[in-house]
Symmetry: C2
Subunit: 125 residues, 2 copies
């Protein structure tokens, strides 16, 4: 698949909250996933598809999603960018928050090999 | 300056269309600038601050800007992303077009060392 085809498929699956299908079909085994922060402290970079699956399981189990908006992708060469706007409650703390972030994805041989998540400046206050 | 400080300054200067001030104050001498397409054909990647100045001069001289919207920056680690929505007429062809793109910027030692521009998929049709 081309970068644009991968980008459109990611957006389609994220809009359905089909996170696991996205990982299983579009992610390389040696994916590198970088968050802005680590809510548990420690490293912000994860390596390998199993680590990403673990992070996704944590997200699905921890958050009640009230709404989410997934933007149309921006694409050039081996890179694409998608904006996510979410409104969630963390189940344990019952804290509700809204977050706007972009994912910057890098594609090689039709698979996502790197993803970086960047929150809107000031939106994590 | 931190990545967030550089990001906010770029946004502030782009909103004023102060492109040259942005380059002079925030860009590294060995900046790498990557476009999705080259309107003249040829390479999409430019190296060096003088090449970027040349591209900026071409843009300023070629385009009549009807409106532009510069979004708030998304920031993490050494990277930030800004969305640009523009409505311009190319003076020579008198062709008016609207374009939505993001810039993905990489910062090192308080200067922008790489910028990549990604148009919204399908928006260049």
């Amino acid at each position: 698949m081309s970068t644009e085809e991968v980008a459109k498929k990611v957006v389609e699956l994220c809009r359905k909250q089909a996170w696991k299908e996205a990982i299983n079909t579009l992610y390389a085994d040696d994916i590198v996933s970088v968050e802005a922060f680590n809510p548990h402290g420690g490293p912000t970079e994860m390596r390998g598809i199993d680590a990403v699956r673990g992070k996704t399981d944590w997200w699905i189990n921890s958050m009640e999603v009230h709404s989410q908006k997934v933007g149309d992708p921006f694409v050039a060469h081996d890179r694409f960018v998608v904006q996510f706007d979410i409104d969630v409650t963390e189940k344990e703390s019952k804290k509700r928050f809204q977050m706007s972030e972009v994912g910057v994805y890098t594609v090689r041989n039709g698979k996502i090999v790197r993803e970086e998540f960047l929150p809107k400046a000031g939106s994590m206050s």
